[in-house]
């Protein structure tokens, strides 16, 4: 490639843009974390890092992160696999509907779930515990939600769909002839399950399990709501504590960067493991659907199991949601749930009177829209360069493109603080812009995934044909590629917009006085003892999120139908 002016065309501009975006938004913040962790007073320093890791609160947080994430992974995998098997391989009644219902937990932000469970199961005042004591005559509280078990239980309820989706997919795609031939050869169901089904589905189970682990490891909300008072910190909550309560001194930021480094390394390890599992497990299991897989006859258990599934949904989704709305309508927290104690005042105050909550709703919606739009376009450009272009240095780009996948939210937030609070000439601290920058970095991975999947389906010959017919690179992109990848771009938009609406882990480290997001407002109101307002805002957030999901499902249906 010569450097002559006429050759400096669209391709180079795209490449430059792609590298620029990834470096500025993703690489710099992450590098600054490593730099601050290992570089003290102008010298490389590992001893200090070890010193931080040896402090009691640090290694306890590391240990807690591991214990909690492992616990959630085990329980979530069991729950997810069981339900997936139930809705795909048995004759459970209303399987289709149940399958949709089991995806609903994904919509409920887990920190809102945690708030609800706190109201239901806190030892002395939780409604369920009080019911046991006051109505059933138990001596003391029956459940205590402020424990490892409580946190693991709550996270499991909202994270098991990671495994559920993966396993459902694998079981549905699996070639039933494999099982059939085993059966014809005389194997019994137990042997078939053990020798054929499980080995075939195992990669999906493991990859779902690792997704749960990755998520739980870096998860802030549930542990913050349920753990802090009992002295249970994980890495993200300890980073939050260090940044918010120890006066932003350099020492606390450094501890934060060391913790963040550990988090990145762990996340990278989990992803590496996942890649290995997936690449080893690429059996040819999709081989045309000759038969429907045999369904296990549940016989007498059909209706009891259906009742169990419905009870599970009622218990994990309906009960917490109803609790949130009811508590949000109470005049003050602690009153019995009786008609005379309810008011619309909290909801009205939040929507129409209170600057703080109105700011929060406005911020979350605009931040979500802006992050989704910017990341969608940036994602197309970067994916295009990675998937389609033959440029030197693409390897670096591929590596940079992988980075956002393995960088947890609290790490991005910390990196963004280091990069954008004035040390390099731009000071976004305390503004919504710093949250936007962090969202772009955080959600780039989603956009890259959706867009590169779409781009891989666009054959190179289309662009070549356009170029051969005399179109410029730019025209070929505009008239051929972009229209073809539009579904991928749209998918990216919504994959980013909806999670951004309820984001907490990143924004809780970055918010300023006027830049609270919905998640931050719910969390801080709860922390400040405004429980009823916190619940009311959570209720409003649920309405916004569910409306968003439904509108989008509709929209995708019509879009794919036409």
């Amino acid at each position: 490639m010569s450097a002559a002016a006429p050759r400096f065309g669209t391709a180079q501009v795209l490449f430059g843009l792609a590298v620029g975006i990834l470096v500025i938004f993703v690489a710099v913040p992450v590098l600054l974390i490593f730099f601050n962790a290992f570089w003290v007073n102008g010298a490389f320093n590992v001893a200090d890092v070890l010193k931080v890791l040896r402090q009691k609160d640090t290694y306890e947080a590391l240990l807690n992160s591991l214990v909690l994430a492992s616990g959630v992974t085990v329980t979530g995998t069991i729950v997810g696999t069981f339900f997936a098997w139930l809705v795909t391989r048995t004759d459970l009644p209303f399987k289709g509907a149940m399958k949709v219902l089991f995806l609903v937990p994904f919509m409920l932000p887990s920190f809102i779930g945690a708030l609800a469970w706190k109201m239901l199961l806190s030892p002395r005042s939780g409604y369920i515990n009080r019911f046991f004591q006051e109505v059933l005559g138990f001596d003391g509280p029956v459940f205590d939600i402020y424990t490892y078990g409580g946190i693991i239980g709550v996270e499991t309820m909202y994270l098991f769909p990671f495994v559920f989706i993966q396993v459902c997919g694998a079981l549905e795609r699996m070639d039933p002839t494999l099982e059939e031939s085993a059966r014809i050869s005389g194997a019994d169901l137990f042997t078939i399950t053990r020798r054929i089904t499980i080995p075939l589905v195992l990669p999906s189970i493991l990859s779902g399990a690792l997704l749960i682990m990755l998520y739980s490891m870096a998860h802030f909300g549930t542990v913050a709501v349920l753990g802090i008072e009992a002295g249970i910190y994980n890495i993200p909550t300890l980073i939050y504590e260090k940044i918010h309560q120890s006066a932003g001194s350099f020492d606390s930021i450094r501890t934060g960067t060391v913790l963040a480094t550990v988090l990145v390394v762990t996340a990278a390890f989990i992803l590496w493991l996942q890649n290995r599992v997936l690449s080893r497990g690429r059996y040819q299991i999709i081989a045309g659907k000759s038969f429907r897989p045999t369904e296990l006859k549940l016989r007498g258990l059909r209706y009891p199991l259906l009742a169990f599934c419905l009870a599970y949904i009622a218990f994990t989704i309906v009960l917490p949601t109803v609790t949130i709305f009811l508590v949000g309508g109470l005049k003050t927290y602690g009153l019995p749930l009786a008609a005379e104690n309810f008011t619309w005042g909290n909801y009205r105050h939040i929507l129409f009177e209170w600057q703080l909550t109105r700011d929060a709703i406005w911020n979350s919606i605009t931040l979500g829209l802006a992050a989704a739009l910017i990341t969608m376009f940036a994602g197309v450009i970067i994916s295009y360069v990675i998937v389609k272009m033959k440029v030197r240095g693409k390897g670096i780009l591929e590596f940079l493109g992988m980075l956002p996948f393995s960088v947890p939210g609290s790490v991005i937030a910390l990196g963004v603080i280091l990069a954008w609070s004035g040390k390099f000439g731009v000071n976004l601290y305390n503004t919504v812009w710093i949250i936007l920058v962090a969202y772009i970095a955080r959600y780039m991975a989603f956009s890259l995934k959706a867009n590169s999947a779409a781009l891989e389906q666009v054959h190179d010959s289309l662009v070549e044909a356009a170029r051969a017919s005399g179109a410029t690179m730019w025209q070929a992109l505009r008239d051929v590629v972009v229209p073809l990848v539009r579904p991928g771009m749209l998918a990216a938009f919504f994959l980013i917009f909806l999670p951004a609406l309820r984001e907490l882990t990143v924004s809780v480290l970055l918010y300023g006085p006027t830049s609270r997001t919905i998640g931050v407002a719910i969390y801080t109101l709860n922390e400040d003892g405004e429980t009823v307002y916190s619940a009311a805002l959570a209720g409003i957030a649920l309405v916004i999120i569910v409306t968003g999901e439904v509108v989008i499902k509709r929209f995708f249906k019509t879009a794919s139908g036409s």
Partner: protein, 329 residues
């Protein structure tokens, strides 16, 4: 379709954002006062001074100071005015030359509880802390601080985290001055817990998660007003904590800041404060009788005295000591 969706979202967002029209002067207040108090003051201030667009950040004093420290690092303090209950912070900021001295117009009508007064900061209210207890769970109100060591409060007395809350920090300092650290050691032996913010321990008491807590007057009274089954008891040795207001020297909005300081100290502002259930600093304003708060003179007489300047140096050590005691297994 995408466009309609975007338009929809934008429309919704605009509807939500349609606030008051832009004003010329801006003012940003960092305060540890809760919504019930600062929200009322903000509305009244906006009515009186429509030319000033006042906004506030309400959070615990510890969090606000952390925020300010981080903002100083990054070169620009967003706050124009600071109003918390962590008195030593103000002496510290003054010593660092961060505050703009301003003597309020109506200084003559004010009670001043702060030594070495030079206008750098002025007390706006006298916060009191008592024992908030849940009347469903506690039948005989505690009469002394030592009553908290009785079985009635076993495992369920809460104190806010002094690292987060200024009132909690001041209370811990005052109580250890009066009764020594062993007071908290005995409380811990009776199962006392450290909570999060000063509002949260009161809410947890209202719900019954705690049977009682060390509680700020107006936060408790606000919840009682809304129907919570709470009551507030004051032992003979009182915790009276002035909440000073100060203007940052670096503020570009000094005029608006002065208007705010004068407003909260005016008869009108002080009446709002008194009606929320906390002691005013003006003798011509009285707290509504239904709150059953002690009179200002009485409270000052019963108050545990402490040297604020000395406290400045002790904060880190005493927060650490307190945390250690409260987390002892």
């Amino acid at each position: 379709m995408k466009r309609t969706l975007l338009a929809l979202a934008a429309g919704l967002a605009l509807a939500l954002a349609a606030g008051p029209a832009a004003a010329q002067q801006k003012l940003y207040v960092y305060t540890s006062m809760k919504e019930s108090l600062i929200g009322e003051l903000r509305s009244a201030f906006a009515k009186k001074h429509p030319e000033v667009k006042m906004d506030y950040q309400s959070a615990g004093a510890g969090k606000l100071m952390a925020k300010i420290a981080a903002e100083r690092e990054s070169g620009k303090i967003l706050a124009d005015v600071l109003w918390t209950s962590e008195v030593p912070d103000f002496y510290q900021l003054k010593a660092q030359g961060m505050l703009l001295p301003y003597t309020p117009r109506e200084i003559k009508s004010l009670v001043n509880p702060l030594p070495e007064y030079d206008g750098s900061f002025t007390a706006v209210r006298l916060g009191t802390l008592g024992i908030a207890y849940n009347t469903r769970l506690v039948k005989s109100p505690p009469a002394s601080w030592q009553d908290l060591q009785k079985p009635a409060f076993k495992g369920a007395f809460g104190v806010a985290n002094p690292a987060l809350s200024g009132t909690a920090y001041m209370s811990v300092s005052l109580l250890t001055k009066a009764f020594g650290w062993e007071f908290f050691e005995k409380l811990r032996a009776n199962g006392a817990k450290m909570g999060k913010g000063s509002g949260q321990v009161v809410d947890d008491t209202a719900s019954g998660d705690l049977v009682a807590s060390l509680a700020v007057d107006y936060i408790t009274l606000d919840k009682i007003g809304k129907g919570a089954t709470l009551a507030l008891a004051y032992p003979p040795e009182m915790l009276v904590i002035p909440s000073p207001v100060a203007i940052f020297k670096a503020t570009p909005n000094a005029e608006a800041a002065k208007k705010f300081v004068d407003f909260v100290l005016s008869k009108e502002g002080q009446t709002i404060i008194a009606h929320e259930g906390t002691l005013p600093v003006r003798s011509d304003v009285t707290v509504p009788a239904q709150y059953k708060l002690p009179a200002v003179d009485d409270a000052m007489k019963r108050a545990i005295k402490i040297d604020y300047v000395k406290l400045m140096a002790e904060k880190e050590a005493s927060v650490k000591k307190f945390t250690e005691i409260m987390q002892k297994k």
